[in-house]
């Protein structure tokens, strides 16, 4: 089950996006997220979708592979659509017996859905095209400034890197321990929640012991290979900005400026039109 989710998995391919500096991609993702929250009309969503399409095509990650990743959050999207659709007050759009869908509800639901979908897809391009190590390298170098405030940037990124490496190993181990206890008659499916939680003890204790043992082993292995923190460390592939990164930053700024411009124009334009057409003020939301 857990293995089916493709979000966050690296997809090896040769593309412009794969070659970009992770810092660039991190900034890009951040700016894109901000832009999605700024979006409040269809023109902005249209532009954001166009940019996303171009971004995905350039990344050479197959769309089918990406869509499979989204499956896991469909339920979440559906829930937010339903909540927005039925619980937003306003002018009736469709009436189905007891439930009424309002214009505003419909609009918010569609926008929320688009926002979540594009948000997930936009940020998953980052993880599809960047190896975990590069990502943590990018975080480490991008946040270097924080060291001044005694934030252990190197250690944090090392920890994230190790966690990413050990997650699949620990999942496999969890699976094995659950089966081993099942073979001894353990039952995780029946009984009250309290009972079921109690039944988890034979799983959690060995998992905990194993995690500590692994941590111990790993620490020893790292020390044996002369690890002593971030001081004086070099990198096999140090991060370097290239021309492509510069161009990407440029395009990113243009995109952000365009989004802001549309928002301003649209907001003002709409108000003018409303004044002319004397529609109910409720629509201006």
């Amino acid at each position: 089950m857990i293995r089916d989710i493709t979000i966050g998995q690296y997809y090896p391919a040769e593309s412009v996006i794969h070659r970009l500096d992770p810092r660039t991609k991190l900034s890009l993702t951040f700016v894109y997220l901000v832009s999605l929250f700024l979006a409040n009309n269809r023109y902005m969503f249209l532009l954001a979708a166009m940019v996303l399409t171009a971004y995905i095509i350039a990344s050479k990650v197959p769309v089918r592979y990406m869509l499979k990743g989204i499956k896991g959050i469909l339920l979440f999207i559906a829930a937010s659509v339903v909540i927005n659709m039925f619980f937003t007050k306003g002018d009736p759009f469709i009436s189905l017996g007891v439930v009424t869908i309002t214009w505003q509800g419909f609009r918010t639901a569609v926008f929320t859905m688009l926002r979540i979908l594009m948000l997930v897809m936009g940020s998953s391009v980052l993880t599809y095209t960047t190896t975990p190590t590069k990502l943590t390298d990018g975080l480490e170098k991008g946040m270097r400034g924080l060291k001044k405030w005694k934030i252990p940037v190197h250690e944090i990124s090392m920890m994230i890197g190790i966690a990413l490496r050990f997650i699949p190993i620990l999942i496999e181990e969890l699976n094995k321990i659950m089966k081993a206890q099942q073979a001894r008659g353990a039952d995780y499916e029946h009984g009250s929640i309290f009972r079921r939680l109690k039944n988890m003890i034979p799983i959690f204790v060995p998992m905990f012991v194993s995690a500590i043992r692994r941590a111990n082993d790993l620490a020893l292995a790292m020390e044996a290979r002369c690890y002593r923190g971030g001081e004086g460390r070099t990198k096999l592939h140090p991060l370097k900005y290239t021309a492509a990164d510069g161009i990407t930053y440029g395009m990113m700024l243009i995109y952000l400026a365009a989004m802001i411009a549309i928002r301003i124009i649209y907001t003002q334009g709409l108000i003018e039109r409303l004044e002319q057409m004397q529609l109910p003020a409720a629509l201006i939301r």
Binding site: T133, G185, D217, R225
Partner: protein, 603 residues
Amino acid sequence: MIQAEHVQFEYFRRDDDGNVSELVEAVKDVSLRITSGEFVAILGRNGSGKSTFAKLINALLTPSEGTLMIGGLDASDEDLKWDIRKKTGMIFQNPDNQIVGTVVEEDVAFGPENLGTPEDIMINRVAESLEQVGMAAYRLTSPNHLSGGQKQRVAISGVLAMHPQCIIFDESTAMLDPSGREEVLQIARRLNEAEGITILYITHEMEEAVIADRICVLHEGALVMEGSPKQIFARQEELLQYGLALPAVTEIAAGIRRQGVEFATDILDIDDFISEMNRQMAYRNADIVRNTRGMSSNRPYGSAEDTQKSEVDEADQHRAVTEGLVCNHISYVYQPGTAYETKVLHDVNLTINKGDFIALIGHTGSGKSTLVQHLNGLLKPTEGQIFFEGNDIHEKDYDRSYLRSKVGLVFQYPEHQLFADTVLNDVCFGPKNLKLPLLEVQQRAFEAIHLVGLTDDVYDLSPFELSGGQMRRVAIAGVLAMKPDILILDEPSAGLDPMGRRELFEILKSLHEIGMTILYITHNMEEVAEYARRVLVMDQGSIVYDAPVGHIFEYGKELKKMGLQVPAVTRLMKEMRQNGYAVPEDLYRKEDAIQYIVDYIRS
């Protein structure tokens, strides 16, 4: 390279309140000199101080007393520890727990990165050291997609990238299958011969120690034996006393000597054995070549299928339906309909009869573990049915908890699933889940603990205070307490020292004697030959051979193709035949081989 004089390492063991409860002397007064370019094997039981000694050499620990010089550097000097670690690399036991990088090349670069190696030099070193272990093609692969042997090769490569003068292998082959072991051992050998790197090879496999220049035996922290392999393995009694064993061929030679034949003491491999036989026979002036061929070729051998069919006759089948476990054309597809879809089992037919003692062998990934998880209903076959006592175990109203109590399954490294505060509580877990009355639960636990050869004083100990071998026995007792009819064990001897393995199989033998049906997975062919009655061979998800143990080893060539071997005895017999000795093909137990050869020499 390494000079140890009266090296001592001790630490305090503390109880729960942090008070010192005892002083543990992990390494006691060890004096040893290892010159550059030597290949030294270190043997000893679990807990004999081997790993501690290795860590001292790598400056992961500092000696409490004595002097230890590593390549001219004093290991007691804290400031020098980074220089020492640069000179001596270490490969640990668990392949997963020593890989830091998420991609192979990043992991190899980890050491040089720590040393502050400039980028251009580093790129060359990474490429070069991956080439040395034959992993260059996997440069950009994730370690999670590699086999155990490949992971260890990556770890070796990571050490090589730091240009060490000495590499310590700390039981690095213990968790690998035979082909993985071979990969690691060959690399160690080549690095030693071609690059002149000093190798310290800690192992439980006597066959691996044979190739060393020198062997050191540690026992309870002290260096008790030291010498060339020939010298060491000639001292059989001492080795056994220290919980070790002999290489199979050496053991046969020793057995022959015990029968009163003047056989040489320095026999380590088959070649030695044959030349000693030649000497013996020349001495007796016997006519060897006569009547040789006849014996080996006249015997009729059926194909595997024939054997399989003739073994399970109708009466047996009928009995199995009502008493045993039957797999009827089962197939298993892993994650059907996804990108990970793989067919793990393919049309498996299997009948386990009451009283069977079965070894299940096969290359890693051949589907052994998946098959045994079907046998107690943990996995459900995608196709086919499984019958226990004549009932389909995946019928809607079948009580699978009953099945799990009757078919006990002991996983690989079962000690990793222990969880309770005391041994007794852990062993009680199974019977308690069967909702038995408390008295019965405890009675079963006591019985089970005795069955695995542990004594009353362990009941109230925490399972985590026990030694590795004892923990494994507690875990097996946890399954035995369910009173299974059939006991299935997935690589029960993995990671144990020779003594631990012998003890474990003695337990299995005694369980079989009291009527339990036993099936175990193993990679060790000696364990197949010495204990099993029937052998199942799996390859690519199918059972390709199912025959009595004596027959299986006739398919040496086919087994080899599947990445499996035949036991040393079978290999020895084959070599002897090729050298003109009229020995039968179907000898596979050491005892039988010894008896036969003694008679042969005397006749």
